[in-house]
């Protein structure tokens, strides 16, 4: 069995599962953000007329993290957040992260950071980037609000068709100024936006084994941009190190690997030793080009942050390039750390100071401009270069804008010049 088949078998109480089997796994963690407001509506509708008490199956397994619009940008959002707070209190939901400067942040950073995700577990989230948590060896996938309401009521994911798996073998050491973001952009370009639709990307190879959990989160996060149900890195020593040292997890951690005779629909091999910085060009994430094809493109807004690349190592890389220098005139730079904890660590290490001195605006942790609802909208016809995960038309709040996606070092090097710049030559 593949890793996901094994996880599904265990969670469904079956001796084995094969791709295509229909199973009903128990849910170990059910995550929502502000769209819990819609989940609550659907949840209440489930119980209407049944004569049953509208109780969630297990309040300790529900996580709700405010991140999409924090602090609220409108009375409507604020009222949704208020309604969610009331629901959280009424149902005794403990994994709740409100708008806070100590334990707040983006859901896809909070879940790993607080040790809510374990290898071998089943995680569902009302966010397409729930694929992120495969970085810790979990089968983690995005669902809609009604499916979440069903999970809140039943504690299982109903009628799940076990996905087939694509094995991704990655070898080689990254050249300087090239990293996990370039790898995943390159892969999405190769696979295309629907190349992994209904499938899992299972990552293997020395490059993955040597990659930090931060990098693994970035590649699993963006697996959905190739259509994948989930990305997954089988749990290993690094997973255990991260959970023990950074997430404070005590007790058993059970890493699940694939069987030697696991069946894959396809194997993709990548050697990163000659990889160059990759850029996803407007308006599709699979419109990926090596950086030399877009060098010199004028950039009005640089964004570093998000659930993809707003982690401490990302901020360290950006700060190292910007220290003692200035963001180009006519270009604005926005930084939003992935969590309040990361923000605090970046403060302690001086990265925030470096970035601000260079001219960057550092915002509170949250989804920020990535989905174009909150701060950082583009002006008509403007161009952004961003470390986020989507560049669809209108994504950064303006349908006439252009969004290019890149790694933190490309974003930082380009902030200094105001045009897309190769960090290897900066």
């Amino acid at each position: 069995m593949t890793v996901v088949e094994k996880i599904l078998a265990r969670a469904s109480g079956l001796p084995s599962v094969r791709a295509g089997d229909v199973v009903e796994p128990r849910v170990d963690l059910a995550m929502s953000h502000e769209n819990a407001a819609l989940v609550i509506n659907q949840f209440q509708e489930v119980f209407e007329g049944t004569g049953l008490d509208a109780k969630v199956w297990d309040p300790s397994k529900i996580a709700i993290i405010f991140d999409h619009r924090v602090p609220a940008e409108s009375p409507k959002t604020a009222t949704n957040q208020k309604k969610i707070r009331e629901f959280v209190a009424a149902h005794g939901i403990t994994k709740f992260h409100d708008v806070r400067g100590d334990v707040g942040g983006i859901c896809h950073q909070i879940l790993p950071e607080f040790g809510y995700v374990r290898p071998g577990s089943v995680v569902v989230g009302t966010d397409s980037h729930t694929t992120s948590h495969g970085a810790l060896g979990a089968f983690s996938f995005g669902v809609g609000a009604t499916e979440m309401a069903s999970a809140w009521a039943l504690g299982i994911a109903v009628n799940v068709e076990a996905p087939a798996t694509i094995r991704v073998e990655v070898k080689g050491a990254f050249p300087p100024m090239v990293g996990p973001k370039d790898l995943i952009l390159y892969l999405i370009g190769q696979l295309t936006a629907q190349g992994a639709n209904f499938k899992v990307l299972e990552f293997h190879g020395e490059t993955i084994r040597n990659m930090s959990t931060s990098g693994r989160l970035a590649i699993c996060n963006m697996s959905v941009e190739a259509g994948a149900t989930s990305g997954i890195v089988p749990g290993d020593e690094e997973t255990i190190r991260y959970l023990r040292e950074e997430a404070g997890v005590v007790g058993g951690i059970d890493c699940v690997g694939p069987d030697a005779d696991a069946q894959y629909v396809r194997t993709v091999e990548v050697d990163v030793s000659a990889l160059v910085p990759q850029i996803a060009c407007p308006h599709a994430v699979d419109n990926v080009k090596p950086i030399d094809q877009v060098l010199g493109t004028r950039v009005h807004q640089i964004v570093i942050g998000s659930c993809t690349n707003g982690r401490l190592d990302d901020l360290a890389d950006a700060a190292a390039l910007l220290r003692g220098k200035k963001v180009a005139q006519g270009t604005r730079m926005l930084v939003f750390p992935a969590s309040s904890r990361i923000f605090g660590q970046a403060l302690d290490k001086g990265y925030i100071h470096d970035l601000m001195k260079a001219g960057a605006v550092v915002m509170n942790s949250g989804c920020g401009p990535c989905l174009g609802v909150h701060e950082g909208a583009l002006g008509d016809g403007e161009t952004a270069l961003s470390t986020t995960n989507r560049n669809f038309k209108g994504r950064m709040g303006n349908p006439t804008g252009f969004v290019y996606l890149c790694s933190p070092v490309v974003a930082a090097a380009s902030a200094l010049t105001g045009v897309i710049t190769d960090p290897r030559k900066a």
């Binding site: 229909v22 502000e34 769209n35 407001a37 819609l38 509506n41 659907q42 509708e45 489930v46 119980f47 007329g49 049944t50 049953l52 999409h68 619009r69 409108s74 409507k76 959002t77 949704n80 009302t126 966010d127 397409s128 729930t130 995005g142 669902v143 809609g144 609000a145 009604t146 499916e147 309401a149 069903s150 009521a153 039943l154 109903v158 009628n159 799940v160 068709e161 936006a193 629907q194 639709n197 209904f198 259509g227 149900t229 599709a284 699979d286 989905l371 174009g372 609802v373 989507r390 669809f392 038309k393 209108g394 994504r395 709040g397 349908p399």
Partner: protein, 164 residues
Amino acid sequence: MAKVILKLENDISTDDIYPGRFMATVLPTETPQFAFFDRTDFNAKLRAGAFAPDSIIVGGENFGCGSSREQACSTLKGHRVAVVARSIARIFLQNSINLGLPVVICPGLEAGEGDELEITANQVLNRTTGRAFDQVQLPAARKGIMDAGGLIPYTQARLMARRS
């Protein structure tokens, strides 16, 4: 028979169907006003009720990719349109089945705006061009939900069954 009111290219994202800036709006009674909001003319026609019920939006490959936002389905359902696409992204497909938005997967489909389509059990017939295209059946795993009329009644039934 129903008319194609919009023909779209590949990889239409849920940001296109329902822009992120309207995500705080969640009620199915309120989401329809924002359907394809940035396609200004089409949005205006939808809101003006210019199309007959059950009219068809034709998508290319990977229709509904991107965000899991369920509003992308409720907004279309509110206008009583159906989606026929060459392929459909996973979460959008599941959301459609869960909410009861009619969707048909038809890999070879060729149809333009104004064409009249007839959807049979296994095919899509383009009555304007006279061509027939095979459907791919929706995942068998989801049949129980479709038969129940959506995921809410399905979950209700499962809850009641547990109780008895």
